[in-house]
């Protein structure tokens, strides 16, 4: 029965999103519902935390405004117990009169104890764990629900949360050193040190939409009050929050006995798309009449008949938004090279192609071998028996039954020219569309962005060989306003980005010649030359080992590059460097992927980048990375080392229409010169891994869609 209850929950979620209300009646009680968010955009009352969590995989974007402070927070429920967040705060006049202090901070919140009937949930947390210390605090907090509507929390805080009525450190760690250094490094020597203080709060869910909050805060805003930008008259804060629509919460608050505060949060969950797949129905399986003895293979001896089947295949594949790279036919087997530029769930593309083949191929063809071809390279081969398609099309558990019958392996050797349509090469594709380039959380401004028109073109010359380029014409934007001069003591390999934005606001984004190939068993290779990215040109070579059925991939990349002129035209500056990495990619299971890159970075520094991403079967991913090199924190400058968070969301998730377009972004607290990597296009691992066993199994549910 456990299986079924799990299914109910999933169905409820799906239905809640689509607007049906049938699951609301079973609504969660206060203690197992999604914890509400405080002024830090993390589970909390207002300034104080609670021991709650959001729903697993929730992504929350929150804004809060009170007195001289404005905060914007992006929080992610990494797994059911762990919440992480990145926050950008602005405080007016805190350090210099008339200037706004922008501060970036990372928080972690871990719920280590679940609530039961007789005991509260408990959580431990770090706020601003590696920033400049303005918001640094730590806490241990307990929360207990009483009935469906009342939730009470109490805890003990350190740092900022111990600036009112503090007492001696309960662990005897009385010494909390002042913040020193450049920020960005975990403040191990400060956490849970120095005086401590109690805080607590109450939440009351008056109706399903309306929540009342009250707290006693141990944050006295000493510093803000000291410089006269805030008047704190009371330790008690009060708030009213209204859930306008599920996931959209608006709040108004009376804080410090002197200020009105406002807040808003938006929550979405990658597991719950707003719509299901609205793409057209697939072609049904065409069942062969008669039986095997009627199925004559003599056609395969006649080249003209083979060609006719290839032409029909091209027509129908293109009608479904895909393309044919090659078709190698004999009486019993059809091996098809597939170009899939449409379906983001690769297994869906495979299932649709298999059904199209059932409709087009003559009856004697029993074995369908589909080889997805990416940039001229066959990433894998998927072998399906036609009789399995015919037999399982309408079987109730057809997903579970078809997958073990499908063979997933390495693609065969490249077929000869006879198997390829005549008009494949050369082929020109082009695109014209809008672009937005944003640099968020610049130390001087929360958001700078340019928008304009981008033209792209790609000329396919032969299988695997292509040349492609992109130019941008900026129409509006303020990225050129950044006049901060790099103070880097390293070669300015990235910290001059704002000069590129200013002097090269319109220009050549990239123009490369690329050759991709399979040099041996389980191996993929790439050579790229030209203007590789907006700041560098040169030559780049990569070799990847990735067996189709392996969780592990290993790669080597070597580049020799020269820095491009600031105008992003064809010239180069004096700086050149050999840079490259050895990379390991590993699917940890449970939706987590790890990557380690070890090598030499753009500034000539040596080190390693560690990345961990949570990925969802629908294509979402969210992750974090950090790079440690032989550049010291002092040489690196603000932030101490390179790190950031990244996410990617499939466009299809928002629209319900299949598309291989992804919306992705990387957010760094600060972009400097240490630990900087080349941004070369067509890195091999993501290209081929999409069609390997793990990804194809993740998409199994869509084989029959």
């Amino acid at each position: 029965m456990a299986v079924w209850s799990n299914s109910t929950a999933r169905l409820c979620k799906a239905a809640l999103l689509s607007g049906a209300a049938f699951c609301l009646a079973t609504g969660a009680s206060a203690q197992d519902g999604r914890g509400s968010l405080g002024f830090y955009g993390m589970p909390g009352i207002l300034d104080t935390p609670t021991a709650r969590s959001m729903d697993d995989a929730d992504i929350a974007l929150s804004f809060a405004y009170v007195g001289p402070q404005r905060r914007g927070t992006l929080a992610f429920q990494v797994f059911p117990r762990l919440t992480g967040s990145f926050r950008y705060s602005a405080t007016d006049d805190l350090i210099v009169q008339g200037e706004t202090l922008y501060d970036r901070s990372l928080d972690l919140h871990f719920r280590f104890l679940d609530e039961t009937d007789w005991r509260p949930a408990m959580a431990i947390g770090l706020r601003d764990l590696g920033g400049t210390g303005v918001f640094a605090s730590e806490y241990i907090v307990a929360s207990k629900g009483f009935g469906d509507r009342l939730d009470i929390s109490a805890g003990i805080g350190w740092g900022r949360l111990a600036t009112r009525d503090a007492f001696d450190n309960p662990f005897g760690l009385d010494d909390r050193p002042d913040f020193s250094g450049l920020g960005g490094e975990p403040g191990f020597d400060q956490w849970f040190r120095g005086p401590a203080a109690f805080f607590g709060g109450i939440e009351y869910r008056a109706t399903d939409q309306l929540t009342l909050k009250a707290e006693y805060s141990s944050d006295a805003y000493t510093r803000e009050e000291g410089v006269g930008i805030l008047d704190v008259e009371s330790p008690f804060n009060f708030g009213v929050e209204y859930e306008w629509r599920p996931g959209t919460v608006l709040g108004a608050h009376y804080m410090f006995g002197s200020e009105i505060g406002l807040s808003a949060s938006l929550i979405l969950n990658p597991k719950n798309p707003p719509t299901g797949d609205r793409s057209p129905a697939p072609i049904p399986v065409a069942v062969r009449p008669g039986n095997a003895s009627d199925w004559d293979g003599a056609w395969s001896e006649v080249p003209a008949r083979r060609d006719a089947f290839a032409v029909a295949m091209v027509t129908v594949l293109e009608a479904d938004g895909m393309g044919l790279e090659y078709l190698d036919l004999d009486a019993r087997t059809a091996r098809l090279g597939l170009r899939n530029d449409k379906y983001d769930v690769e297994t869906q593309a495979i299932g649709r192609v298999a059904r199209i083949m059932s409709a087009v191929m003559p009856p004697s063809v029993e074995i369908f071998v589909i080889e997805p071809v990416v940039n001229g390279v066959a990433a894998s081969s998927v072998t399906i028996r036609r009789s399995d398609l015919e037999r399982l099309e309408h079987v109730p558990d057809n997903t579970r039954q078809i997958m073990p019958r499908i063979g997933i392996g390495e693609a065969g050797p490249n077929p000869g020219p006879d198997a390829r349509p005549d008009d494949l090469y050369p082929a020109l594709t082009w695109g014209l569309g809008p672009y937005v380039a944003a640099s968020a959380f610049d130390p001087d401004s929360p958001l700078r962005a340019d928008a304009g028109i981008e033209a792209t073109a790609k000329l396919d010359l032969a299988p695997g060989l292509s040349t492609s380029g992109a130019v941008r014409l900026k129409l509006i934007g303020n990225q050129d306003e950044s006049d901060r001069v790099s103070d880097s003591v390293l070669p300015r390999v990235r910290s001059d980005a704002n000069i590129y934005a200013r002097e090269g606001e319109s220009g050549l984004e990239y123009w490369t010649v690329d050759y991709l190939m399979r040099p041996g068993e389980d191996l993929y290779a790439r050579v790229s030359a030209g203007y590789l990215e907006k700041m560098y040109g040169g030559i780049s070579g990569e070799l990847l080992w990735k067996p189709v059925d392996s969780r592990l991939g290993l790669g080597v990349e070597v580049n020799y590059v020269q820095q491009r002129d600031f105008d992003k035209l064809f010239g180069f500056q004096d700086y050149s460097i050999a840079t490259g990495h050895v990379s390991a990619y590993y699917d940890l299971g449970g939706g987590f992927d790890a990557q380690v890159d070890v090598g030499r970075y753009l500034a000539g520094d040596w080190g390693a980048t560690f990345g961990l991403d949570r990925t969802f079967a629908n294509g979402w991913s969210l992750g974090a990375f950090a790079t440690f090199t032989d550049v010291s924190a002092e040489e690196f400058g603000e932030g101490s080392f390179d790190k950031g968070i990244r996410f990617s969301a499939p466009l299809s998730w928002f629209t319900g229409q299949p598309s291989r377009t992804e919306l992705s972004s990387t957010i760094r607290p600060v972009l400097r010169d240490g630990g900087a990597r080349l941004n070369v296009r067509n890195r091999l691992f993501p290209l081929v891994e999409d069609y390997h066993e793990g990804e194809l199994e993740d998409g199994a549910g869509k084989f029959w869609r």
Binding site: R10, A14, L17, G19, L268, A281, P284, A312
Partner: protein, 229 residues
């Protein structure tokens, strides 16, 4: 609900990407539609079975139906405010795939819905092994298992328990033509969902001329009428 917020986001994303154009853009939907509606040959020859409301109304006259050369099914889906005719796109033993002009597919086994495609919250499969006999009999109890895709593309099964009862003889009129039918009512519950299906079965040969069948929690009930058998 979350829908609106996400739809707003979606609309923004769509607006942004729809503004783009290029040679590699997706093919117009109509060509896919042709593929589905007319089968493979039509895809190659460029047959067109599409049409708007006026075309639908023109189809729904006795004169037009009498001239029809192939089976035609009318489906009405109030949850989508949609109404369209469907033709046979494929047959696999007892399962018939009906295809509509806008890329929608409906799968029926002996008149009982076992799947939908292209609607969003599609019914991927339905296990109707025991319900089929109970519907024919007009009595008893049976279990259905519906399968759907969740937001992470995983199959989730929804088993429902159903009871069957005969609701008597009815003279069913479909576009001016009357058929002698008996009505069977199927009442189902899964705990969190309750729904009622209804079938109008020809008393002469058991053909299900008309039915009201529940697709799932989001799409709810579709009404299916066979205009041309």
């Amino acid at each position: 609900m979350t829908g609106l917020r996400s739809r707003t986001l979606g609309a923004l994303a769509v607006a942004f990407f729809v503004a783009a154009c290029g040679s590699a853009g997706e093919r117009p939907l109509s060509s896919v539609t042709r593929t589905l509606a007319g089968g493979i040959s039509a895809a190659i020859q460029g047959d067109d079975t599409g049409g708007g409301d006026a075309a639908l109304e023109a189809q729904l006259t006795r004169a037009a139906l009498d001239k029809a050369t192939r089976p035609l099914l009318l489906a009405e889906l109030p949850s989508r405010d949609a109404r369209a005719t469907f033709v046979i796109g494929g047959q696999n033993r007892a399962h018939v795939t009906w295809v509509g002009a806008d890329g929608i597919g409906l799968i029926l086994k002996n008149g009982i819905l076992t799947g939908t495609r292209g609607l969003g919250a599609d019914l991927m499969t339905a296990d109707i092994a025991t319900p089929e006999a109970a519907i024919r009999r007009g009595g008893g109890t049976a279990t259905r298992v519906h399968r759907y895709l969740d937001g992470e593309n995983q199959i989730v099964a929804l088993p429902v328990t159903c009871t069957y009862a005969s609701a008597g003889a009815t003279r069913l009129v479909i576009v001016e033509r009357a058929f002698p039918t008996r009505q069977v009512v199927e009442n189902c519950t899964s705990g969190s969902h309750n729904f009622e299906n209804r079938y109008w079965i020809d008393t002469r040969d058991g053909w299900i001329w008309k039915s009201q069948q529940w697709i799932g929690p989001e799409l709810e009930t579709v009404t299916l009428t066979h205009l041309v058998r």
